[in-house]
Subunit: 251 residues, 2 copies
DNA sequence: ACCTGAACACCGTTCAAGT
DNA sequence: ACCTGAACACCGTTCAAGT
């Protein structure tokens, strides 16, 4: 009987070369390589050595596919959701209930930030996803892992939703902003270290070239913009918000 | 001589029915009505009673057109950039140097928020724009008007860039998140008051249906999510960040 | 100079036909 | 059940030809 099951599974696996998982995986590959413009049904079919129509047997449409890709990538960087007791889950990511609450919030934020840096297409999709599919798998996990530490920070119960939303919105905005935009037309931010330095230098100079009467502030921060480091900046902004969270709580 | 100029201008105006401005205007109309999916060269050409190719005489390509539309909409809601002295500019929006600094930051943020609410396509485009075109017209204006009041708040000079970026990122994220997504497939958030209530109700119920051991926090805030009001929430989040800004400053 | 509109090289999606 | 691939109805963009 065990043999029968084995044989069934094997033959299924042999014949069913195509699966939703394999398609999503291939889609992520195409997205990473060439951005959203590179993900087409035909390119996908070729990479999977199949016909265009076969894709539609496992995936409803293109939009659903990109959503699945987003969910897959994000799920990998979120901490497992064991209960508040803190037992370990089996998925990747750090523990959700260990360490200081600020650090746990930072860990989730950084996980999303790094994922968005690695997958340039992620940020813009993530934003859409959170709005449209609050029943999707990742939205609840993001809110749960970002918000849970707030209790320990002493945030009053009635502020939990606002505070969590604010944190998520910041992460979303910063992440979108810093995403390498390899997609579509327009001057894409650079990939290499020195190209990035040149990019910042040009941007900084552009600010300095503005009329000083109209843009006195930009003139004053042009240097800081040239020298800033994205990831450190992201963390500093997060700490600013956390300072607000701590300052607002009653004692 | 004045007559000659007049005649030239008139005949130009008569013949040149098409102009970059008119095209951008029509594009905004299409975007507002049907989202990014509704903006096609053919639809644009029909609305302007012309051929498809004519568009390309005034606009480089589709992407450039959407960027121009974004710039136009955003420019209308930003305060005029008179010097720190505070004389009035001639464009729309409130004064940049009047009132308490917190209120001026709120005004800019709300202007962007309201614009994004009115133009559902704006948010996602704005995010892209800020990254790719730091020399564009709106990015400097946003940073200048959001950051200028920071001096009066007592934020130390070396924190100006981080603080401004954090504020902009939050606005960007919140705005993207709350944007009515009429575009593309997927369940679009609703337009009417009661449809929105139903939407929030469903979303809140979805959180409540999650396993309580894994999502204890979401269970606790499900009610707040159902009852929250987007704009008030947006402002509350902004105030949270401003609290952090104030808390971090040396005194 | 400005505009026309057919033509080109793509898309996502469907569907009869095959195995 | 799963897959094939031609066909359909779209795209953005180009370009010879007109005025």
């Amino acid at each position: 009987m065990a043999g029968m099951v084995m044989r069934t599974r094997q033959s299924q696996r042999r014949r069913q070369v195509l699966s939703r998982e394999r398609i999503v995986e291939a889609a992520i590959g195409l997205l990473d390589t060439g951005g959203e413009g590179a993900l087409t049904v035909r390119a996908l079919a070729e990479r999977l050595s199949t016909g265009a129509g076969a894709i539609y047997h496992h995936v409803g449409n293109m939009n659903e596919l990109v959503q699945a890709a987003t969910e897959t990538v994000v799920a990998d960087v979120l901490p497992p959701l064991a209960g508040p007791g803190g037992r370990a889950g089996e998925s990747g990511g750090p523990e959700v209930s260990e360490g200081r609450p600020e650090d746990r919030i930072r860990a989730v934020a950084l996980g999303l930030y790094d994922a968005a840096t690695e997958h340039s297409w992620l940020a813009s999709r993530l934003a859409v996803q959170l709005t449209r599919a609050p029943r999707g798998a990742v939205t609840p996990r993001i809110f749960e892992s970002m918000g849970r530490p707030l209790r320990e920070l002493g945030v009053p119960r009635e502020d939990w939703f606002v505070t969590t939303s604010t944190l998520v919105h910041y992460v979303l905005g910063a992440t979108t902003q810093n995403a390498q935009a390899t997609d579509g037309p327009g001057a894409a931010p650079p990939d290499t270290e020195e190209a990035r330095a040149a990019f910042l230098d040009t941007a900084s100079r552009a600010w300095r070239d503005l009329a000083p009467e109209d843009y006195p502030f930009l003139h004053e921060i042009a240097d800081q913009m040239r020298e800033h480091e994205d990831r450190a900046q992201f963390l500093a902004g997060l700490d600013l918000i956390l300072a607000g969270v701590t300052a607002s709580r009653p004692r």
